[in-house]
Amino acid sequence: MNLKEKIKTIIVDKPLKLDCGQIINNFPLAYETYGSLNAKKDNAILVCHALTGDQFVTGLNPITKKDGWWSYAVGPNKSIDTNKYFVICANVIGGCMGSFGPGHINQETQKIYGTDFPVITINDIVNAQVNLLDHFEIKKLFSVVGGSMGGMQVLQFVSNFPEKAKTAVPIACTPSHSAQNIAFNELGRQAITADNNWSDGKYSSTKSTPDKGLAVARMAAHITYLSKKGLQEKFGRKLQERDDLKFGFDADFQIESYLRYQGSVFVDRFDANSYLYITRAMDYFDLVKQFDGNLSNAFKNSKTKFFIMSFTSDWLYPTQENKEIVIALNAVGADVAFVEIVSDKGHDSFLLNVPDFLKTLKNFLDKSYVE
């Protein structure tokens, strides 16, 4: 199949015990790499993607034919300079870009897993992708970097494997998913499961899929990625290709049209069941609880050099939650830098052209690399 050829995959034969208790083995883990690994194998950066991301970090995504999700930050001479560094990104398990997920065929039933797929956690995701380090025979990453859910993976990664990363850059994330964020994720899941096409998750990709539900989930989530000010400045009350209100329920306003468009393009590239599973993994993420209420214990004796960034207008993963990580790290004397970047682009700031962010990330990595 053409699609399969474009996706690189390793088969993980080592059994992986999931947090839910199930054991999985011989499962596929899809990945992509950029740049080249040097002889000393000390220039590798593991990039962890967010909820709806995938392994195609930069350049043209061969499946969607669109730019990779972190094209602003990753590439030759960019913040994560692929002339210098070997960038690895895995599609998370539970995802829909080649890694073991709910869209895969269950060998026992010969049907797609759907909701028979085990519930996975950020911990499971990280424990799966660490196999890529073995695959490339990398003992220690130069850095592990990610924003949002990617940042959660960064935290879990350094907690699970304190010796495997020289530096760590969790961006716009949290040590513990908040009630508000669980609420938004639940809204998205309810939109999907309320779509008749969802059929208890047993829809097949060749037949009708729950596109309407998934689009609504995406629309609601998309609002949370932006800021009120950013929306107001970009759209205000501008009308969509019309001179006046139409007194109906078409998209009169540009913001409505924009959201509908975001929803419609999303369903072409994302699987509804994956959306359920990955949002669940985020909701279950609570590194504080994992360490019995003391986040500092997650990073005890850590030699990793941390750099944490948040954004002024991010109300989904606000600065205060990012600072909790900084505080926990300082409490155990870890090496941690922190800055809040001024941006009115909301949570999405880390994905967009925010020069202060891109410049500071680049400087941190390049300086840490020569040290």
């Binding site: 004397g333 830098a337 800055v339």
Partner: protein, 202 residues
């Protein structure tokens, strides 16, 4: 580079752990790293300056010393440096207590409000003094709690910390301050530099 950086570097032990509170663009941090091979961290309120520090490879967190020192454990640093910012805090007393909790020792520098030019400025002109070290107008100065070298000595008794070393900076020359020369040093020093430690009694 500010002249007192060399003096601070002379005070700090090699390979020690240092926290620079209000580390500005990281000039002192870089200097101490190079000269004394210290393990140094910084805290700075200005985002631009934090970004500048990080771009130099320095470990700095954005924060306000008045509220954000509490995240550091007791005696987690050998030295905590506070350069010319004590006068800008809402509660200098609380800040000094925090410095002495977080650091085994603290190095505090203060622009001396007792300097003769400051005194003369007010006496002759009858307006709030403006000098090289105090360049702001009264209405836009960040310095809300100015003090003199003599005040700092009194302060040490009031909140009970020990002054190990007190140095005066006059035209880039350093000299010791003691009880017998305090009045003259308080008149001629532009800057006071103090190495302090928590008294055993508290």
């Amino acid at each position: 580079m500010k002249p007192e950086y060399k003096i601070i570097s002379d005070i700090v032990d090699e390979n020690s752990r240092v926290l620079d509170v209000g580390c500005d663009d990281g000039t002192l941090m870089e200097f101490l790293k190079k000269n004394k091979n210290v393990d140094i961290r910084g805290i700075e309120i200005s985002k631009e300056k934090v970004q500048a520090c990080i771009s130099k490879g320095l470990t700095v967190i954005e924060g306000n010393a008045e509220f954000d020192l509490k995240q550091f454990p007791n005696k987690s640093f050998d030295y905590v440096v506070l350069g010319q910012t004590l006068q800008a805090f809402i509660n200098p007393e609380a800040v000094i207590r925090e410095l002495l909790r977080v650091g085994k020792k603290a190095i505090v520098t203060i622009p001396n409000f007792g300097h003769w030019k400051v005194r003369l400025n007010l006496l002759i002109k009858g307006t709030m003094p403006m000098t090289k070290t105090l360049p702001h107008e009264w209405y836009n100065t960040p310095n809300i709690h100015m003090c003199t070298i003599k005040d700092f000595f009194k302060f040490s008794q009031k909140i009970n910390f020990k002054i190990f070393k007190s140095l005066a900076l006059i035209n880039e020359n350093v000299s010791n301050i003691n009880n017998s020369n305090l009045l003259t040093k308080n008149l001629f020093s532009e800057l006071g530099i103090f190495l302090i430690e928590k008294s055993n009694e508290n």
